[in-house]
Each structure stands twice: as structure tokens, then as C-alpha cells.
């Protein structure tokens, strides 16, 4: 038996229209901490879903060998039975249940009568909590804990399942430094107890701190696996970004004109906790024909800024000024923002962008129905024509505009969202993660559309987690961290290293 606890060989996973993983191979040695790095959308999460049985055996190609035996998981409980536990980025805890109830959810401690033995449940929960360094009462409801402690409860839950291989997906993304350090120490401590961990992370300093080996994935392919002594941030970034950066983005010759939009001292607080500042004195501007990128980590306040600006759709106690062509405007409601020529395409198409049970036509017209009104009635033939023209000009792949948007691929859905906003005839478009979950070919098309809009003299703000994308399409980049703008770089000076440094710059304490 080899020293590897896990080998995934030649894993290929295709979704309709997208090859998410292509011949990925990864080997994890027993007792190590193995980091997996890659951009958003590189295929890390898909790989972990294949491993944990979320995508059942048969829905992918390739072999998974766990503890020397080829396994075929049908679902999550199969993989958990073997001791593989995955902790997702969005924690899967039930807020109104107690710590103990959450730890033993679907794994309840019962007495011989088949009823739950609460004394034993709480006692065992206390023992598990001690192992992760928590001293809270196991009967405390989860919602009373901070995110850091919730993360530890998740790990305690994993320990209760006799975990052998612990997978952590971006475990520190939502944590502050203190909690992050504590969590990383805990992972090292568990390693001492013989638990192997796979950690998915963007944070290179963390990886350097705890990982024994690092595998980099890009565009669904393994790029390389390096051992601890070979790991350097530069090498990881180079692997993540790839060398053929130029070919992935269409040429864009900026013709920058007058200032279209200027935001001054924009501040927004958390919608529930109005003492917490989420967007902190953000000032920025966009000029006609310009593509401005906003770079920031998840949770940095990018989307919160955009949504609070767009009709106060997020947050409370919002303050700041907005100027359009030098004249102050208000954007207190979405309708007002649209009237003032602002459009915002959300990062989450399915939840916030589209009516999936309606057809392409009605989605495109949704924000501009008044334009189609004749004598109080919607001119539906005109609507059809408008939508059909967009279908052709945006290359939406559908036989006609009566197809429901729920049936389209991610790239085509995004084109519908863009069509909707272009039809509202804005001067400034804020595009939040415009290529999330879209395959490479469609990404190129989206970039082409963005360039075309800029060439027409519109101002574009692109928010993206994919740094190479921002560097590839923007004319100027703002970096945002902890709700503040930490820097502004013209594209000539924006190297990945420079932007990453600004993105991770912390508030002086």
C-alpha cells in the first residue's frame, strides 16, 4: 500500500456545454496538509464535489483511490462513511439548533429505546468541542456564535464522524485574522493527530504557512504539484494565472472621453447591524469609453458597494454623493437609478438577475417595459422584434426568443442579462462578476460585448474576483479591501502582484 491516502486519477467532468475538469490527477499523502489553489471557476470546487460524492460515481470519468481501494461514492453519506468530510465555504449549520444538535445532525446519539439521549449527546459534544478548542456550552444556539466559532463547530462535527480526510473549502474567507490563525493552528494540531487535510484557499500566505504540498488547478487542468520546499507565492501566482494571458482577451483600444459618473464618500452599513460599516468612504469615477475594474477579495464590499449605489438595494444608513456628468443625481430607488442611466448586472444571475420561468423576450424587456407601451398596452410584437434583434446581435444561442431563460447555458443567460440592461439604455453599466460560471468561449464573447459598449461611449465598471480577467480588460483598476478603496492603478502599472498587494491591504489597527 502506497503512502498516499488519496489518489484521484484522470478525473474528467463535463456539464452541458462546459468541460469543468479535464484529466485532473492529484495525490495526497497520508497525514499531510495539501493545498489546492486556483482562480475562481478553475474547477477546485467541482473536483471536491466529485471526491465527496455530490457528483456520484458514473457522472465523471477517472478513478478515485482512497486508502488503497478504488471507491465509487453514490452520495455524500457514502464518502462520509469512509471518513471523507467536506466543510463548505457557506457553512451548513442550522442557526436555531444548538451546537450539540448541529454536531450530531443526521448522526444522532440514541439510547436503546431509539430516542435521543440528550445527556450523552451534550457530553460527547463537549468532548468534541474541547478538541477544537471551544469552551462554549453545547446547548448554545448556533446563531449566537460568530462565524469563526461556527467554523470550529463544523470541524467538531467532522471529528464526530471519525474523519480521516478533512476538506476545507476557503475556510478563512469570512474570518478575521485572529480566528484565521486559530483555525490554521487547529488544522496543524489535527495533523498531529493523524488527520489529513485538503485546504482550498486563495490566501497564499496561509498556504505557505501550513501546506506540505500544493496543487495548482487552472481551467479544469492540474498545472503542477509542488512540495513544501519548492512553494513560493510567485510560482503559485504564475501557475494560477497562466502564461497565455494575452490571447484570452480581445483587443481593446480605449477612446476615453468626459467623466460620466463620479461617486464621492460613499458609505453603507450592514442592513441588520447598522453600526457595522461595510462600504467605507468609497470614491471613484468612470469616464466615457472607459472600462474600470474593481478588484477585491470575497467579502471586501465590492458587491455591497455596487448594490447600495444602485437604488440602495443593499445596506442601511447610506451616505455619499453621486454625480453624473458633473451634476449631482440621486439613486435612492432602482427606478431612479435606471432613469439616471445606471445599470447593474448582478453577480448572481439566477437569484437576482433573471426570471428563469419566463422566456428570453420578457426578461430582456423587464427593466424597460414603459418603452414598449402604446396607449397603455405593451406592444408585444415590437417587444418580440427588440428581443430578436438582441438575440442576433448578442449571439444568444436559442432557436427563438420564446425559450425560457432557465433552459439556457450560463453564458447565454448572461447575454440575456446584458441585453436587458443595454436595452434600458444606460450611460454607465456596473457588471458584477460578468463571467462567473461561464466557459472560456462565452467569456471571450462577453469581453467583446463589454469592449463594444465602451467603444459606444458608455462607462463600464467591472467587478471581478478573477484578477487576470480584470487585468485583461480594464483601462484602470481600483482595489478594494475591507470596504475601503486601497488604491487606484492605471493598467500599465497594474501587475498581478501590485493589485494583490492592494487587495489584501489591511486597515491600520
Amino acid at each position: 500500500m502506497s503512502n498516499n491516502i488519496l489518489e484521484m486519477r484522470g478525473i474528467t467532468k463535463t456539464f452541458p456545454g462546459v468541460k469543468a475538469l479535464s484529466d485532473v490527477t492529484i495525490e495526497v499523502a497520508r497525514g499531510e496538509i495539501h493545498a489546492i489553489c486556483g482562480e475562481n471557476g478553475a474547477g477546485k470546487s467541482t473536483l471536491m464535489k466529485v471526491l465527496s460524492g455530490v457528483y456520484p460515481h458514473g457522472s465523471y470519468e477517472g478513478d478515485i483511490v482512497f486508502e488503497g481501494e478504488t471507491v465509487a461514492f453514490r452520495d455524500l453519506s457514502d464518502s462520509e462513511a469512509k471518513g471523507i468530510v467536506i466543510i463548505h465555504q457557506e457553512l451548513a449549520l442550522s442557526p436555531y439548533l444548538s451546537i450539540a444538535e448541529n454536531i450530531f445532525l443526521n448522526n444522532e446519539v440514541t439510547s436503546r429505546t431509539g430516542l435521543i439521549d440528550w445527556n450523552k449527546t451534550n457530553h460527547e459534544a463537549r468532548t468534541l468541542l474541547a478538541r477544537v478548542g471551544l469552551r462554549d456550552n453545547p446547548m448554545t444556539p448556533i446563531r449566537q456564535l460568530g462565524v469563526g466559532k461556527q467554523q470550529l463547530v463544523e470541524i467538531a462535527k467532522a471529528l464526530s464522524k471519525q474523519v480521516k480526510l478533512l476538506i476545507l473549502d476557503e475556510p478563512t474567507a469570512a474570518l478575521n485574522d485572529e480566528d484565521s490563525d486559530h483555525l490554521l493552528d487547529l488544522i496543524l494540531h489535527l495533523k498531529g493527530q493523524g488527520i489529513t487535510s485538503i485546504i482550498i484557499s486563495h490566501k497564499l500566505n496561509e498556504i505557505k504557512k501550513i501546506a506540505d504540498s500544493v496543487t495548482v488547478i487552472r481551467d479544469g487542468k492540474t498545472i503542477e504539484t509542488m512540495q513544501r520546499q519548492d512553494v513560493s507565492e510567485e510560482r503559485i501566482i504564475k501557475d494560477m494565472v497562466g502564461r497565455d494571458l494575452e490571447h484570452r482577451y480581445p483587443d481593446h483600444e480605449p477612446h476615453i472621453g468626459e467623466e460620466l459618473l463620479r461617486v464621492e464618500d460613499w458609505t453603507a452599513h450592514h442592513p441588520q447591524d447598522s453600526s457595522r460599516v461595510v462600504v467605507d468612504n468609497v470614491s471613484l469615477n468612470v469616464r466615457a469609453g472607459e472600462i474600470v475594474g474593481i478588484a477585491g477579495l470575497m467579502g471586501a464590499g465590492r458587491t455591497e458597494f455596487a448594490m447600495s449605489l444602485f437604488g440602495h438595494s443593499y445596506g442601511s444608513r447610506i451616505s455619499g454623493k453621486v454625480f453624473k456628468r458633473g451634476k449631482e443625481i440621486k439613486t435612492r430607488t432602482v427606478a431612479e437609478a435606471i432613469q439616471n442611466g445606471i445599470a447593474y448586472a448582478t453577480e448572481d444571475r439566477k437569484t437576482y438577475g433573471l426570471n428563469l420561468i419566463e422566456d428570453i423576450k420578457r426578461n430582456i424587456s423587464m427593466a424597460s417595459l414603459r418603452k414598449l407601451e402604446r396607449w397603455g398596452l405593451v406592444h408585444d410584437n415590437e417587444e418580440y422584434k427588440v428581443a430578436d434583434d438582441f438575440r442576433k446581435s448578442m449571439n444568444i444561442k436559442a432557436p427563438n426568443v420564446l425559450v425560457k431563460t432557465g433552459k439556457l447555458s450560463g453564458g447565454n443567460q448572461q447575454k440575456v442579462v446584458l441585453s436587458k440592461w443595454i436595452y434600458s439604455d444606460p450611460d454607465v453599466l456596473i457588471l458584477d462578476e460578468p463571467t462567473r460560471g461561464i466557459d472560456v468561449g462565452a467569456k471571450y464573447e462577453i469581453y467583446t460585448i463589454i469592449n463594444r459598449l465602451a467603444a459606444e461611449g458608455k462607462g463600464i465598471i467591472v467587478i471581478s474576483s478573477e484578477l487576470p480577467e480584470l487585468l485583461g480588460i480594464s483601462d484602470r483598476i481600483y482595489a478594494i479591501s475591507e470596504g475601503r478603496i486601497t488604491g487606484e492603478l492605471p493598467i500599465e502599472e497594474a501587475t498581478p502582484e501590485a493589485v494583490l498587494t492592494l487587495m489584501t491591504m489591511e486597515r491600520p489597527r
Partner: protein
């Protein structure tokens, strides 16, 4: 809505160079017919129920008098179904409509009988009270953000209670004749007495002519804008079938007492609300909100305002239903409107509305209401007891929605 997957004529010419054109045409024809049948499954279900009960009742179901009764007996449920399907499309529900109908009926009794106000003023005031009830419920739902289920459950109790308060432990009866006409009046003998009422026939004929003109215009408009239209033959077949149905319906009414006033009210409502839902910005916003509230909000739709007006509208329609019911019985009583909400909700769901919202049509809800009506009526004629009628109606509701869910899952996979 169907998704025509058949190639347009130009595309099929471009692709199918060696395909027998006649063959191609026939398959296109067939797929259109099938798509239409799938789309109008609920309509076919109505026809099936009618055919079934015509046999089991030895044809009594389709006798002129019974057809007239069908409309008059179900008028108030159909009025409620119109408002209800709109509420359901927006993703809400209204459990209070039965109580509101009873409350408004009682109020109208006070106006028209106790106070002796003119019939038109009594009706106007009653509708206003319905609208105010809607303002009350709409306020809590749209602006305070309490789920409609809770607000209207409370409303169900509140307005039933208020109805009893207004009635003061007694029935109110003997309404003026003009008021009563709303429930059991007929538009008849305007041109003197005939065996078969000529006015009814004329209106039926006019309805057919208008329908044909409207359909032709709509088809021509689509052609002009380069959209796909169904094959001409199928278009004509459908028009002829629908026209024949209208003609039969008009003839039946003409050979009984003429056109019921309830039907006139109902026809006007169906026409107006049908246009509101399919062609106005307000109607589109209702569908958008039901389909994805977040997306609607982020598209600049004022979702709270739409919710509010929906309930004002529902309250007004509930008031109208209460008036029609009271007028028909010539009595405002404490049991009025009992269970109306369930029949109206059933009608909307049988008619294809989706529980999650975003889907449904006025026409569907009306047909759903008619299916319930025919079931009630047919089973009553057959002498089936009320206990079995209840059970059968429940089963029909369950199967209708199950069929819908199954259909959606299948189309979702393809």
C-alpha cells in the same frame, strides 16, 4: 406557454434541401397541434368533463336551462378566481375572500334595505368597502411585510366576525329588484317576446365576428414582424371550433331566458383583466414579481406598490362576488361566502397557476372554475351526495396540480 421547436419556413428550406416538403409540412403541422393540445390541456379537461357528465346525466347538463344555471351559480366563484389567480401569480394567497364577500354582502343589506339607499349607490358603496378591506390587507402585506397567508388568515376571522356584527344576529332580505338583477337578472325580451331571443343570438354573433377579427389581426401583426405563426389550416380549424362553441352557447341562452346579467359582468371582467394581465405593464410586473421577486426589484419594478394594488383589487372583486351572491339569494346571511376562498383557489390551481407564483392566466382560472362548476352541477343532477362531491373535487384538484408538476418536470429535463 409552449416552446415551438419546429423550424421556421426559411430555416427548414435552408436545411432540408432533400427532405420531402410535404412530409416536413405535415410534421410541422402535427407538432403545432400537439403543442397546442399540451398548452390547452386544461381546456381539453373541461371538454372531457362536460362530455362525461352529458352522458351520465342523459344530456340534462347541456340543456339550455342548465347551461344558464351553470353560469349564474358559479358567477361569484369565477369573479373571485380572477382576482385570486392574480394574487397567486404574484406569489401570494388570499384566504379572506369568502369572509370579505359575506361582510360586504351584509353591508350592502344595510345600505339597500335598512337605509333604503338607491341600488346603484348601495352597490358603489359596497365596492368601496371591498376596496378599503383591500387597502387594509395590502398595507400589512406590502408595506409591513407580513406574509399574505397570515394577513388574510387573520382577515378571514376579522371580516367573518364583522359580517356577524353588521347583521346583528339576523338575516337581511328583500333587496330592490335592480340590485337582485346582478345575481339572477336576464337581458331578455328587449325586442319583444320570442321563442328564441334575437338579442342574445345577435350578441353571440357579434362575439364570433369580433373574435375572428381580433385573431386575424393578431396573426397578421405577427407575420408582419417576422414571427412564426401556426399553419393556416390549424388556425382555421381552431377558429371554427371555438366559434361553434360560442354559437351553441348563445343559442342555448337564447332559447332559455337570454343573457344573464352575471354573465355580462363576468365577460367584461374577463376581457378587461385578460388584457391587464397579458398586455399592460402592471400585468407584466405581476408575472415578473412572481417569477423572481429579487430580479424584479433589481429591474426597477416597485414590488411593494404592485403587491398593494393587487390586494386592493382582490378586495374589490371579493366585494363584487359578495354582491352577486347576496343578490342571487336575495338575502344577506351569516353563512354567505363560506368556503368561497377554497373554490377560488382551487379554480386558479386547476387552471394552471403555480404554487411558487409566476405562472397562471385569467383564462385558465376561469376554465378551472368552470370545471369545478360542471363537477358540482353534474354530480348534483346525478344525485350524488354532497359528501362525495367534496371528495371528488379534492381529488380533481390534487390530480390537476400533480399533472402540472409532472409536465413541468418533463419539460424541464428536455
Amino acid at each position: 406557454m409552449s416552446e415551438p421547436t419546429t423550424p421556421t419556413p426559411t430555416e427548414s428550406q435552408a436545411v432540408g434541401g432533400n427532405v420531402n416538403p410535404a412530409d416536413n409540412k405535415f410534421t410541422a403541422w402535427l407538432s403545432h397541434v400537439l403543442a397546442d393540445l399540451g398548452k390547452n390541456g386544461i381546456f381539453i379537461a373541461l371538454i372531457a368533463v362536460v362530455v362525461l357528465f352529458s352522458f351520465t346525466t342523459n344530456g340534462i347538463l347541456l340543456r339550455p336551462q342548465n347551461i344558464s344555471n351553470l353560469i349564474v351559480q358559479n358567477g361569484y366563484i369565477l369573479v373571485l378566481a380572477i382576482g385570486m389567480v392574480m394574487v397567486i401569480i404574484a406569489g401570494h394567497i388570499d384566504l379572506s375572500v369568502g369572509s370579505v364577500a359575506a361582510f360586504v354582502g351584509a353591508c350592502s343589506g344595510v345600505f339597500a334595505v335598512h337605509w333604503g339607499l338607491p341600488w346603484w349607490l348601495s352597490i358603489a358603496l359596497s365596492l368601496l368597502i371591498g376596496a378599503l378591506v383591500g387597502v387594509w390587507q395590502g398595507f400589512w402585506i406590502a408595506f409591513v411585510g407580513i406574509p399574505a397567508f397570515i394577513v388574510t388568515l387573520a382577515g378571514m376571522l376579522i371580516f367573518r366576525g364583522l359580517a356577524l356584527v353588521v347583521l346583528g344576529n339576523a338575516n337581511i332580505g328583500s333587496f330592490p329588484a335592480e340590485y337582485r338583477a346582478l345575481g339572477n337578472g336576464f337581458l331578455t325580451n328587449v325586442f319583444g317576446e320570442f321563442e328564441i331571443d334575437p338579442l342574445t343570438l345577435a350578441i353571440g354573433g357579434l362575439a364570433i365576428v369580433l373574435l375572428v377579427i381580433q385573431q386575424l389581426r393578431s396573426r397578421r401583426g405577427r407575420v408582419k414582424y417576422g414571427q412564426e405563426v401556426e399553419p393556416a389550416a390549424w388556425f382555421i380549424v381552431k377558429l371554427v371550433l371555438v366559434s361553434a362553441a360560442i354559437a351553441f352557447f348563445a343559442y342555448s341562452l337564447a332559447s332559455y331566458k337570454g343573457i344573464p346579467v352575471t354573465l355580462i359582468v363576468l365577460a367584461a371582467l374577463v376581457l378587461i383583466y385578460g388584457i391587464v394581465m397579458s398586455r399592460t405593464v402592471f400585468g407584466r410586473h405581476i408575472y415578473a414579481i412572481g417569477g423572481n421577486r429579487h430580479a424584479a426589484e433589481l429591474s426597477g419594478i416597485k414590488t411593494r406598490r404592485v403587491d398593494f394594488w393587487l390586494f386592493v383589487n382582490m378586495g374589490t372583486l371579493a366585494a363584487l362576488a359578495g354582491l352577486i351572491f347576496t343578490a342571487r339569494l336575495n338575502l344577506a346571511g351569516p353563512k354567505a361566502g363560506d368556503g368561497f376562498e377554497l373554490e377560488a383557489i382551487s379554480a386558479a390551481f386547476i387552471g394552471g397557476a403555480a404554487v411558487q407564483g409566476g405562472v397562471g392566466t385569467i383564462g385558465g382560472a376561469i376554465i378551472g372554475g368552470l370545471i369545478i362548476g360542471v363537477l358540482n352541477n353534474g354530480m348534483s343532477i346525478m344525485g350524488i351526495g354532497i359528501e362525495w362531491q367534496q371528495a371528488v373535487k379534492g381529488l380533481v384538484l390534487l390530480l390537476a396540480v400533480a399533472f402540472d408538476v409532472y409536465n413541468k418536470r418533463r419539460s424541464g429535463r428536455s
